[in-house]
């Protein structure tokens, strides 16, 4: 049985650095998410504190987690694309 990929991919010299960057960003987001779960669990009333525009911490933190995911995704993509261009010159991987 062939266990290779569906499409033959070229060598990706940027894969290691992308993996490390991904791990760092994952840990950062994981800590922010864990903070959210900890406050909800240990001090749910804190979530009622008004933060901005009449919105409480629960809404601001919740929306913040969603927006942060989008922003971190865009940053990750921009940095990865730059590394791919730098390190994969002449390679065919990055479609």
């Amino acid at each position: 049985m062939d266990h290779g990929p569906a499409v033959e991919l070229g060598q990706d010299h940027a894969s290691d650095i992308k993996a490390r960057l991904g791990l760092v960003l994952f840990v950062i987001y994981g800590l922010v998410y864990a903070g959210f779960v900890v406050i909800n669990t240990l001090s749910p009333k804190t979530m009622s504190e008004t933060i901005v525009l009449g919105l409480n911490l629960a809404v601001v933190y919740g929306f913040g987690l969603i927006v942060l995911a989008i922003i971190m995704g865009l940053v990750y993509n921009a940095v990865c694309t730059r590394y791919e261009k730098q390190l994969n010159t002449g390679e065919t991987d990055s479609a």
Binding site: M1, D2, H3, G4, P5, A6, V7, L9, D12, S15, D16, K18, A19, G22, L23, L25, F26, Y29, G30, Y33, F36, V37, N40, T41, L42, P44, K45, M47, S48, L53, G54, L55, N56, A58, V59, G62, F63, L65, I66, V67, A69, I70, M72, G73, L74, Y76, N77, C80, T81, E84, D93, S94, A95
Partner: protein, 638 residues
């Protein structure tokens, strides 16, 4: 409540289904080999794949379940949105590119890429099947729930319809048609949900949500020293009987031959009052009465309204044209009437009723109404909450129908970009769920019997056309997700279990044929489960599927990628222990014990097993890998 089939809804639904079948025919002609069937040829554009990801992910649980949960318990429902979205971070930063690099058609390919191990092929294949089936159950239940209001048909007809259409789609064209159906559905869902939220914001709030909204009565009552209601402030009601259920006293009143149930409460000045409830009574002679009358009399109302609307510290009757921040802050400052369920027996009658409970907006806009992390919390209830949030965070990147979508794009870069498109689309949609859910909570549209219908019923508030479109999209939501799950399942059966593990040599066309047969079998099985689990909570079931996926699959993926000492036996043992422990703990959980109709205490105190089964799976992988280092002596993860 009574649902009448709308001709517009039926017409739109039929048009949509025909369009989907058209797409299937079109792609069936182009699908010639197994690569085309299982991975859409690996040449889907990343932007299309990203929206298709959103289509896969925004299943019945997201659209129907979350909006419904927010409509009944406020912010606690939104926690699901946050957890579901956060899970994509794991997918993007850790899983997307390596998985695309290692795999071919299935999740097992990626796990097995370095080892070619029978143990991995078997356990990963079974795990894919089990998780897919766990995830299929709520989708099919959701399909049945939707068809009743949409087409006026019974639950089982809806389940069979979805099953039959999906089997046809999958058995004809596989992943290509599934991708385009998901792309179409994901895009439409986001566009029309946005329109719905704009209408909700523009409509604002009113104490009486609509002209035909039922005026819930409150009757002054005299209560004696024993707590018995002995007199009413006005006629025509006659006190018939009184029952105690939980902390509440319910009184049956009769007027003009119609019996209704009332909740003994106090008014703003502390005087006793009886407040009207919604009650379903199964009588001793087998009749079912809705607020004392047959269902056709339509006395069982849609509900959800404000008790007080506070704007800038002042009480108002209505307010229009709100921006998103005003919408949320007014709800937080105001008081809302929610309807809570209670069941009890009275003589030879079984009574299920929903009584009014005035809830401060401040409690609705923070955690605590569903997840017991605040008043009445215990260590178990807090651990249960943490366990759920853990499963949601780690479950997304371990769902088979999400994982296989990484193989439909041509490169690792495309896998990454499509994940970012998915995060943006899904994140935006999840923000909308808060407005849709809260909008349904206060606009008098809730069907207390089925919170899953909150979003479509909110759309109905703004007209039949929007209801028809939203319902058709919701149905397509189920259709698309079920298609993806069945493709994942048939891939696991044919590719992982038959070819890789069983060593059955099949030609390329035979693999496709076997995949189609597997799709029919899995689809048939899903139909049976969808009928059997009628009435189960959709979001609860999906939460469990996430826990099984996170426990069985994620530790293996992560450790393969990032721990050099990982061995094939470690992976196989981790998948097996994660899957079995998650399933067993679910079976021993308090909610499942309620379903068993037993008085026994559940041996496992949590409803969600993730906090135990995920670490257990990790530990198993580490221990077994360390024990099998010398024997395997294989090159390991990079």
């Amino acid at each position: 409540m009574i649902y009448d089939a709308s001709p517009i809804a039926v017409g739109l639904f039929v048009m949509f289904v025909l369009f989907v079948l058209g797409i299937s025919f079109y792609f069936a002609r182009r699908t010639k080999d197994s690569k085309g069937y299982f991975a859409a040829g690996g040449n889907i554009h990343w932007s299309v794949n990203g929206i298709a990801f959103a289509g896969d992910y925004l299943s019945a649980a997201s659209f129907l379940g979350i909006a419904g949960m927010i409509a009944t318990v406020g912010y606690d429902g939104f926690l699901y949105s946050i957890g579901y979205l956060a899970g994509w971070i794991v997918a993007l930063f850790v899983v997307a590119e390596p998985l695309r690099r290692l795999g071919k058609y299935t999740f097992s390919d990626a796990l097995d890429a370095k080892f070619n191990s029978k143990g991995i092929q078997l356990t990963a294949g079974i795990s894919t099947l089990v998780v897919s089936i766990c995830y299929l159950i709520p989708q099919m239940v959701g399909a049945g729930a939707l068809v009743t209001p949409l087409l006026g048909l019974p639950h089982y007809v809806g389940v069979i319809m979805v099953g039959a259409i999906v089997i046809f789609i999958v058995a004809t064209a596989g992943m290509a048609s599934t991708t385009y159906v998901q792309f179409l559905k994901g895009g439409l869902l986001i566009v029309f949900s946005s329109i719905l939220v704009i209408l909700v914001l523009n409509n604002g709030f009113a104490l009486k949500p609509s002209d035909d909204y039922h005026d819930f009565e409150a009757i002054g009552a005299t209560v004696d020293e024993n707590g018995t209601v002995v007199a009413l402030a006005h006629n025509p009601y006659v006190i018939t009987t009184q029952e105690q259920a939980g902390d509440h006293t319910f009184v049956k009143l009769t007027a003009e031959g119609v019996e209704t149930w009332w909740n003994l409460d106090t008014d703003d000045s502390g005087e006793p009052v009886l407040r009207e409830t919604l009650a379903i009574v199964k009588t001793g002679d087998g009749k079912t009465l809705y607020n004392g009358a047959p269902k056709e009399d339509e006395l069982f109302y849609q509900v959800g309204h404000f008790h007080k609307i506070i704007v800038d510290g002042k009480e108002v009757e209505s307010v229009k044209g709100l921006n998103p921040a005003e919408f949320l802050s007014i709800i937080e400052d105001s008081e809302i009437v929610r309807f809570k369920q209670e069941t009890f027996s009275s003589g030879d009658e079984d009574v299920t009723l929903w009584y009014q409970t005035i809830t401060p907006g401040e409690k609705i806009m923070r955690p605590g109404l569903k997840f017991k992390v605040d008043e009445g919390s215990t260590t178990s209830s807090k651990l249960n909450f943490i366990s759920l949030m853990l499963a949601l965070f780690f479950g997304t990147s371990a769902l088979p129908h999400i994982l296989i979508r990484y193989y439909t794009v041509p490169s690792q870069t495309a896998a990454r970009k499509s994940t970012i498109v998915a995060i943006a689309a899904i994140g935006f949609f999840y923000i909308l769920t808060l407005f849709m859910g809260l909008g349904a909570m206060v606009n008098g549209v809730l069907d207390v019997e089925s919170s899953n219908m909150s979003a479509p019923l909110l759309a109905q508030y703004f007209g039949t056309a929007l209801f028809a479109i939203i319902s058709a999209i919701a149905f397509a939501t189920v259709l698309g997700t079920v298609s993806g799950l069945i493709v994942a399942s048939s891939g696991a059966v044919v590719h992982d279990l038959m070819s890789s593990f069983g060593g059955i040599k099949l030609s390329d066309s035979a693999q496709v044929r076997a995949g189609k047969i597997a799709a029919v079998v899995v689809g048939g099985f899903a139909i049976l489960l969808g009928i059997y689990f009628k009435g189960e909570n959709v979001s609860f079931l999906v939460g469990l599927a996430f826990a099984v996926a996170a426990s069985a699959n994620l530790p293996a993926i992560l450790m393969l990628l990032f721990w050099k000492k990982t061995t094939s036996k470690g992976i196989a043992a981790s998948v097996l222990v994660g899957m079995v422990s998650a399933l067993v703990l679910i079976m021993l959980s308090p909610t499942m014990y309620e379903h068993y109709s037993t008085d026994a205490t559940a041996p496992f105190p949590l409803d969600n097993p993730g906090i135990v089964s995920i670490p257990l799976s990790f530990i198993t992988l580490v221990i077994v890998s360390l024990l099998t280092q010398k024997r395997e002596n294989l090159p390991t993860a990079e």
